[in-house]
């Protein structure tokens, strides 16, 4: 079996779940080979869990500079690993960093780049969902090695324990005139709620919420479900809620089991970011609001009456659980 290189997402101590998903995806094409880019000692902390989730080999690309420079060390490491192992494909997570690494690698290697795959078959055909769910597209690399980014959450991690062979990659010294230095890092403040893109339930508020204070109703409903809070662009632009929670074309795309839209009219940009949600519930006073037409369950009514009642019912139900 040829190797399939997987770029490992980690925080220095732990492997991110999206990497286990990549290992499961990689197994469809060949032997998953994990590439760890980090400061010295990182691979030793991660290789056991990588092996448990199916990595047949682990490449250690360690250097004191690895965490000091942005993206470039990972591109260099993968380029080295590709030249040494001639893999069948390279996979990275479809995150900001993963996408940048994959594209730069593909450019250096004249490889074929496919981004944001939600599925991948043994022949290398990739499924993508574009324009916020308007189209399902199946594509294939026709020339060069496939470099694919895979949407987090699209694959289930699979335990497949075995021993992983360890290999060392010697990273080249980074040229500081061609690479940005990271002088400070602050992890995303996770808070108590799940991340928008991973949450099973997302409750979003729009302009109809009426103000920053009104978002308490949205947050309380989200918390009753153990879900995430989102906001429409109109609500963000009005200053009701911070930008990083924006759902839509210029914000985050979400695809939860349940999406509840409170006081959101349903501009096409918003729909593009949430219409692949499994079940959609919308509450809006305006019977003409476009979102009501695509909701599985639409309530024409005042969200300040409907949402607190629902919160109460859900809390009771979950307490009985």
């Amino acid at each position: 079996m040829p190797d399939v290189l997987v770029l490992v997402d980690h925080d220095g101590e732990r492997v991110n779940k999206s990497t286990y998903e990549l290992l499961a995806a990689a197994r469809r094409l060949g032997d998953p080979a994990a590439v760890v880019v980090g400061t010295p000692g990182t691979t030793a902390r991660l290789s056991k869990s990588l092996a448990r989730y199916g990595a047949v080999s682990v490449h250690a690309a360690e250097s004191t500079e690895a965490a000091e420079f942005l993206v470039t060390p990972a591109v260099d490491a993968l380029e080295l690993a590709v030249r040494e192992t001639s893999p069948a494909a390279v996979l990275a997570s479809a995150t900001t960093d993963g996408g940048e690494v994959a594209a730069r690698l593909a450019a250096r290697l004249e490889a074929g780049l496919l981004i944001d795959a939600v599925d991948l078959d043994a022949s290398g055909v990739v499924t993508q969902i574009v324009f916020g769910g308007s189209y399902t597209v199946r594509s294939q690399v026709t020339r060069g090695m496939p470099v694919v980014t895979v949407r987090p959450g699209a694959f289930e991690p699979e335990e497949n324990p075995g021993g992983a062979v360890e290999r060392t990659l010697t990273l080249p010294t980074v040229d500081p005139t061609t690479s940005a230095r990271v002088t400070d890092r602050r992890a995303a403040t996770a808070g108590d709620r799940p991340g928008l893109t991973e949450a099973v339930v997302v409750v979003s508020g729009g302009r109809g919420v009426g103000g920053a204070d009104g978002f308490e109703v949205v947050e309380e409903l989200a918390d009753a479900f153990g879900g995430a809070v989102g906001a429409s662009r109109a609500a963000v632009d009005a200053g009701y809620y911070p930008h990083q929670f924006q759902v839509g074309q210029t914000g985050k795309s979400v695809s939860p089991q349940l999406y509840i839209a409170l006081g959101i009219s349903g501009a096409i940009q918003h729909l593009a970011g949430m219409q692949t949600s499994k079940t959609i519930v919308a509450v809006n006073k305006d019977p003409e609001a476009p979102i009501l037409d695509l909701a599985d369950y639409a309530v024409v009514g005042d969200l300040f009456a409907v949402a607190p009642r629902l919160t109460q019912e859900v809390a009771v139900r979950r307490a009985l659980g």
Partner: protein, 266 residues
């Protein structure tokens, strides 16, 4: 020595309208689309203009706006010129229709190379059509510039950039020497509107139109233009049909809970 800033911009279908893929080649149907300058590019241009204004006391800055696209892309260039940029480069070549991330980045990088002594390349972090969010990083790699991407705050001083980066993993402070490539997020600024005077002045500003033969004079064939990927099929998502609709008479919250419990969502 003036400071040279290049701003990369793209004309995209208006996200306020429906976007469709062509039945024949699965490419974006641009004929039916309302084309606009991508909003994020206005912010990149704004950042260039405010840098130029900040530097005015000590040095001149010269802003070149670069766009790849069909004839209509000239409108996007003119808009940035109307905002205050100095000149434009329009890369227009039918062979670039459907160009992927890598080809786009190679062509943009070649256009940046035609501008002498570039200090700073500015771009939006992601376009609303492709959303790959990777072209700026690839352009940086091809030009051997530090990639300073997804920036919500930028300072340029004494030959260095200092920037605040924000992604789903958190925030970071970045530093790099000039020349560098910076891509900006929506948070960076509020773009200005072109003034009437600016719009009139933009008509007289120089725009060079170039094609692949101009950008790659030594290439015996445009080898990089070869497509590396192929779309096998593109299936439009069936429209969601409307579900249950109720008007709240005081019991909708409870009814909704019953519905969600039945769907095993609570």
């Amino acid at each position: 020595m003036p400071v040279n800033i290049v701003v990369l911009v793209k004309q995209v279908p208006d996200t306020g309208a429906e976007r469709t893929l062509s039945q024949t080649d699965h490419r974006l149907d641009r004929e039916d689309a309302d084309l606009v300058l991508d909003e994020i590019n206005e912010r990149a241009a704004e950042e260039a203009l405010s840098l130029k204004e900040t530097m005015k006391e000590t040095t001149d800055a010269h802003i070149t706006v670069v766009s790849m696209g069909p004839d209509s892309a000239l409108e996007a260039i003119r808009k940035v010129l109307a905002m205050g940029a100095d000149r434009g480069i329009h890369i227009c070549d039918d062979r670039l229709r459907g160009a992927d991330v890598l080809t786009t980045a190679k062509v943009l990088a070649a256009a940046v190379r035609t501008v002498e002594d570039v200090d700073l390349v500015l771009a939006g972090d992601t376009t609303t059509d492709g959303r790959a969010s990777a072209v700026p990083a690839v352009v940086a790699d091809l030009l051997a510039l530090p990639q300073v991407t997804h920036v919500r705050k930028l300072d340029v001083d004494a030959g260095r950039v200092r920037a605040e980066r924000e992604t789903e993993n958190g925030e970071a402070t970045l530093e790099a020497p000039l020349p560098a490539l910076v891509s900006v997020t929506e948070k960076i600024n509020e773009p200005r509107y072109p003034s009437f005077k600016g719009i009139m002045a933009a008509k007289k500003k120089p725009v060079d139109t170039v094609d692949l033969d101009d950008l790659f004079p030594d290439a015996d064939d445009a080898g990089f233009l070869v497509t590396r990927t192929r779309v096998l099929e593109a299936v439009p998502r069936p429209p969601r049909s409307a579900g249950t609709r109720v008007t709240d008479d005081g019991s909708a919250g409870r009814q909704l809970a019953v519905y969600l419990i039945a769907q095993k969502l609570v």
